[in-house]
């Protein structure tokens, strides 16, 4: 119970309570209707992000974390679509918004950074073209002013000699540089929310550190909320305010970063953290999770982690509901590691 009290008194949560969340996702379901059946890529996902907050959305491949990000922006292509749920951005439901409204919000109020910097910039257009068009798509601004703004945005991301970069084509830049450009584009219109989809996965360690540094600083400075999608818990551990762990289309655990990493409640989170080499003793066998990620088609009812879970019981044949075991810690499990966490 002491743990609960501590959490309650967490100053960050206090602050969050005062401001309305930038984004609230409620019971989002995004399914893909393929030849061999419906894929429930996102299945009943709820979370929220507050102003200035960085939410780490962690999960392994196929867990639906990227699809969640694309669903928010309304960028799900057939055969996929948002089946149900609500995505409230500053109170406005994006699921029911018109395409025009979504287009207006995209890149303006909500921006996105993609995983592979080599692929996200159009190879045949110069950087300035790609930046200026992003500005002019949302506000009336002459080319010169827009260019200046682009210049400023590049400078902000710490790119050396931004003027030269503006005149360059993407292939003339290194991966890290391109990702900085993508970040600059995301910040161009001072959005309220940025969805970053594994933006550092493809980068080298030293470059990743630079990007993390810039992203962190920018969010702090502009107060932009951010959803940082990643498979690497170590990255979000150092970056995010809160973490949501996804597994097989569902969020299995959410909570403040420190809590989730230090005292994971869901057996999957426990296993995942245990798999990281640094959490183990050098040279010894790692604490692996047995088995494989389940197939999302024809997933039997109940907890998707059941087959790999050391704590599974017959009870797990029923889909666990989201419960807020501790304040600010929601979890989807019949047998959480509650005792350990509480200690």
């Amino acid at each position: 119970m002491t743990a609960v009290d501590e959490t309650m008194e967490n100053p960050e949560i206090q602050r969050d309570d005062e401001t309305a969340p930038t984004l609230v996702v409620e019971n989002l379901k995004t399914h893909f209707f393929t030849r061999i059946g419906a894929v429930k890529a996102v299945d009943d996902v709820s979370f929220s992000v507050k102003t200035g907050e960085i939410l780490g959305l962690a999960g392994e491949s196929g867990s639906g974390k990227s699809i969640t990000g694309f669903s928010i922006l309304g960028l799900i292509d057939p055969p996929g679509r948002v089946v149900s749920g609500a995505i409230r951005f500053k109170g406005e439901d994006l699921v029911t918004a018109t395409p025009e409204r979504l287009q207006d919000l995209r890149g303006n109020r909500i921006a996105m950074i993609f995983q592979d910097p080599m692929m996200t910039l159009n190879p045949v257009l110069r950087i300035d073209t790609q930046m200026i068009e992003a500005i002019q798509a949302h506000r009336k601004m002459d080319k010169k002013a827009a260019r200046q703004r682009a210049y400023d945005a590049l400078e902000m991301t710490g790119i050396p000699s931004p003027g030269e970069r503006l005149n360059a084509y993407p292939h003339q830049l290194s991966g890290g540089m391109r990702q900085r450009v993508a970040i600059a584009i995301a910040f161009l219109n001072e959005p309220d929310l940025i969805i970053a989809d594994e933006p550092t996965t493809a980068l080298d360690v030293t470059i990743q550190a630079q990007i993390l540094h810039e992203a962190q600083a920018l969010c702090k400075r502009t107060g932009t909320a951010m959803i940082w999608i990643t498979h690497d818990l170590a990255v979000v551990a150092g970056l995010a305010d809160r973490i949501a762990v996804m597994y097989a289309g569902r969020i299995v655990e959410t909570g403040v970063t420190d809590d989730v990493i230090d005292k994971p409640l869901h057996p999957y989170s426990v296993g995942l953290l245990g798999s990281v080499p640094s959490a183990n003793k050098r040279g010894e066998r790692l604490n692996q999770i047995p088995g494989m990620t389940p197939n999302l088609i024809g997933l039997p009812p109940g907890c998707a982690f059941k087959a790999r879970c050391p704590r599974a019981s017959d009870q797990c044949d029923a889909t666990p509901e989201v419960s807020e075991l501790l304040p600010g810690r929601k979890i989807r499990c019949h047998h959480p590691h509650f005792e350990e966490a509480a200690q």
Partner: protein, 336 residues
């Protein structure tokens, strides 16, 4: 070769190995240069004079960022790529000089596990052929014995032999990586070069494969060269760690010692910037600058433009690898 000899001679020894990728000018190019087109032959020094010896049973981690030449080095060790300079010795004999059965033995002895579990398996071949082809072609097993042999190997890497009639795309990434390992094991290797072998896998699967590597090592007395950009993995599995930067070794030492106190400024930067679970809400203080192009590496110490401690000598003279402590070498002018 006697048992005695093999224990004293390192299993694999790399002597002054370099790899250059040269784009030569052809006749037209030379003519253009003569006409003042300012063309030069482009040379990429992917690997630049690397020495390394690996003893039987050792696990060596090779770490570095893109363009540092670690994969090229791995391929040269595995015999896929011939070195431009220097020699790769297997049990003390230059692989390039071998022929016939000796060559085959050396070929089999060193096998490679690749990074991409998709492209490293031939999509048009069944698992049993992927694993069983080479042993049958080289007569390690008879055509009739292939099926049993494949079953045996698959079981060892933790795959259900019942699946051997399937094609690679019918497996998950982790399973595919196991098939790749089975393929290598099928020729009874002594030495495995693992080139980012787990980088493409999910965290939970990574742990499984790392465990598999450790199990196999025990069972077959395997030696590993473990190439990775992921320091935590290398730290976990390796006994000795070699750090490369732009084609050169900058520091090599026993893993514990190195991770405890890296000597080379690059090693320090690299180690400090690895995201770690135990570092929360940290303020990232990255080293500045980009990794230079291997086409045009900086003179002297390749790291000097980014090095916070660089001084004059760094930009002119190449720092030599020096033994700075027992079993520990580093190439930095600060050690002079």
């Amino acid at each position: 070769m006697t048992e005695q000899a093999s224990s004293s001679v390192p299993l694999i020894e790399i002597q002054g190995v370099s790899k250059r990728f040269v784009k030569r000018l052809d006749f037209a190019g030379k003519l253009a240069r003569r006409l003042g087109a300012g063309l030069e032959e482009e040379t990429v020094h992917a690997v630049d004079g690397v020495d390394l010896s690996i003893a039987q049973g050792e696990v060596v981690g090779l770490v570095g960022e893109s363009g540092c030449g670690k994969s090229t080095l791995g391929r040269m060790v595995a015999g896929i790529m011939p070195p431009s300079d220097g020699a790769v010795l297997y049990k003390g004999r230059d692989i390039a000089s071998l022929s016939g059965d000796d060559k085959l033995e050396a070929t089999f002895a060193v096998q490679m596990i690749f990074q991409d579990p998709f492209s490293s398996l031939n999509p048009r071949m069944r698992v049993e052929d992927i694993v069983g082809e080479a042993p049958v072609v080289h007569g390690l097993v008879s055509g009739n014995g292939k099926s049993d042999y494949v079953d045996e190997i698959l079981t060892k890497v933790g795959l259900d032999p019942a699946l051997k009639r399937r094609y690679p795309h019918q497996f998950s990434g982790g399973q595919r990586q196991r098939i790749g390992i089975a393929r290598a094991l099928a020729v009874k290797p002594k030495f495995l070069v693992c080139d980012e072998a787990i980088a493409a896998l999910d965290v939970s699967i990574q742990a499984q494969v790392i465990n598999l590597f450790m199990d196999l090592r025990e069972e077959f007395d395997l030696t590993y060269l473990f190439i990775s950009h992921d320091l935590s993995v290398v730290e976990h599995i390796s006994e000795r760690v070699v750090i490369m930067y732009l084609g050169r070794v900058v520091e090599a030492a026993q893993a514990e010692a190195l991770f405890a106190a890296p000597n080379h400024p690059y090693a320090r930067a690299l180690l400090s910037e690895v995201p770690r679970l135990d570092q929360r809400k940290r303020d990232f203080q990255p080293i500045k600058g980009e990794i230079p192009s291997p086409l045009d590496p900086p003179p002297g110490c390749h790291f000097h433009p980014r090095c916070p401690q660089a001084f004059e000598a760094c930009s002119s003279a190449r720092p030599m690898l020096k033994t700075i402590a027992p079993d520990r070498i580093s190439a930095c002018h600060l050690n002079d």
